[in-house]
């Protein structure tokens, strides 16, 4: 399923984040994959997702330079592709 920034996403319930100097380590207990979130702003964005009705709304509220949005959106898409993020309404 392709990533759609018009809908709401949230962190998979079996994913844990561990703060690190570079951002955070993310671990998925279900598929046993590890991800490195390579910017503190990305960590904050990911953690905020479930408060918004769409990814776009989360971007609007986040303190991220719009010039960097494409790279952040790419990161979110990658997280969704490995099941770290799930679209609202989808039963993981």
């Amino acid at each position: 399923m392709t990533f759609d920034s018009a809908v709401a996403y949230r962190l998979h319930e079996r994913v844990a984040l561990r703060p690190e100097p570079f951002g955070a380590l993310a671990y998925h207990y279900g598929n046993r994959r590890l991800n490195f979130l390579r910017a503190p702003e990305l960590v904050a964005l990911v953690e905020s997702l479930d408060s918004y009705d769409s990814v776009r709304d989360a971007f609007d509220a986040a303190d991220i330079d719009p010039g960097r949005w494409p790279s952040f959106e790419k990161a979110l898409a990658s997280l969704a592709a490995s099941d770290f993020l799930v679209a609202e309404g989808i039963d993981p």
Partner: protein, 386 residues
């Protein structure tokens, strides 16, 4: 720079990391290990000739159940996501399953290594029901003769039986872990076929001269040509797990997938059955002992404050390898392999693919008696002097 790196769970990180600066952050160490190995017991029903921990007999000073639980509590606080439990044969511990459940209930996932002797049909059924527990079956040959030469009579049959149970129970993606030796390296395709047959994932790791491996090194370590063949095979099979253990081969060309540097004390460490914390699973020697989980401050204190780990997180000198154009690729190889063959830590890897290792070994062999490994026997009381 990319914002995301997603390594395979067994291997630490994928190669883009190296180019994007995360490797430097890794070298400087993390607040908690990514990958922690915990040898729960030295007791073992096998006596493999290459055992890195010289296992066989239980150490009477083993951590108690309460002490193990306290360590798990600490790992939970540090957010260590999962641990690799080994031994010895960990399932021999009477409280093994209790500790596995305790870890999982505290958010610490478990992968455990076993020779298969503890995996019957009932155990396999239980394991298949938990996503939080992963199993790694150790074999060292694709047939009984090759395997049992290293692991002992009947050990191949035991491992196969365990894999049959896991498959029958529907446990998908368990690991088949093979230490690459001179005698089995030609069987890599057979191992892969075996993994496919069982719906398992193949994991190949490097043989080190640690523990009893120091004694069997001469017989078991791969030839130069075998190392080259393995390198190309691994490049062609990036889905095979390696624990990032073959980074010394990256000097042959394109880097292998993974963290091409030594993670000892930086992102990896080992807790042994009596609670001693070492820099990695392959250096059970006083020189790489950082502390003990029974000490005040526990494991976190050792990981974050020990002098040894602080040293390992400092930029390392390329030493004798500084003038070699391939140091960036191989990072001088494996610390444990150097140490137990008597090569200085800033010297070349004994299996340096450019041939520098043999010359280094020749020169140290003349100059000293070499380094012994600390666990030649189970002892009570003070540790032997290495």
């Amino acid at each position: 720079m990319t914002l995301i790196d997603n390594p395979r769970p067994d291997n630490l990180v994928l190669s883009p990391v190296k180019r994007s600066g995360l490797a430097d952050q890794m070298k400087a160490g993390l607040d908690a290990p990514i990958c922690l190995t915990w040898e729960l017991t030295y007791a073992c029903n096998l006596q493999c000739v290459h055992c890195l921990s010289s296992s066989g007999r239980r150490d009477p000073r083993e951590l108690t159940t309460d002490e193990c639980e306290a360590v798990i509590d600490e790992l939970q606080r540090m957010q260590v996501f999962y641990i690799n439990i080994g031994g010895g044969e960990p399932t021999i511990r009477k409280d093994f399953w209790h500790l596995v459940h305790y870890a999982v209930d505290h958010g610490v996932g478990v992968k455990f290594s076993t020779n298969g002797s503890g995996i019957d049909a009932t155990v396999a059924e239980h394991l298949a029901q938990s996503d939080y527990v992963d199993v790694q079956i150790s074999i060292d040959g694709a047939d009984a003769a090759t395997n049992d030469h290293v692991r002992g009579d009947g050990s191949f049959a035991t491992a196969v039986e365990a894999m049959e149970h896991l498959r029958a129970a529907g446990f998908e993606g368990f690991k088949i872990s093979v230490v690459m030796t001179r005698h089995n390296i030609a069987q890599v395709d057979d191992f892969r076929a075996m993994a496919d047959r069982y719906g398992a994932q193949l994991r190949l790791t490097r043989f080190r001269p640690s523990g009893r491996g120091a004694d069997s090194w001469g017989d078991l370590h791969p030839t130069d040509q075998q190392q080259r063949d393995l390198y190309h095979w691994l490049i062609d099979h990036p889905d095979v797990l390696t624990g990032d253990s073959f980074f010394h081969l990256s000097a042959l060309g394109e880097a292998l997938p993974g963290l091409n540097l030594c993670g000892a004390g930086r992102v990896v460490c080992l807790i042994d059955p009596i609670g001693d914390v070492y820099a990695c699973p392959f250096v059970l020697h006083d020189e790489f002992l950082a502390g003990n989980v029974r000490d005040e401050g526990g494991f976190a204190q050792v990981w974050q404050q020990s002098n040894l780990f602080a040293e390992l997180r400092e930029p390392q000198s390329a030493g004798a390898c500084a003038s070699c154009g391939h140091f960036d690729a191989c990072q001088g190889g494996c610390m444990a392999a150097k140490f137990f063959t008597g090569i200085p830590l800033d010297g070349p890897d004994p299996e340096c693919v450019l041939g520098h290792g043999e010359a280094a070994m020749d020169s140290v062999a003349r100059a000293s008696v070499g380094k012994d490994h600390s666990r030649t026997a189970v002892v009570i009381g003070p540790k032997p002097i290495g």
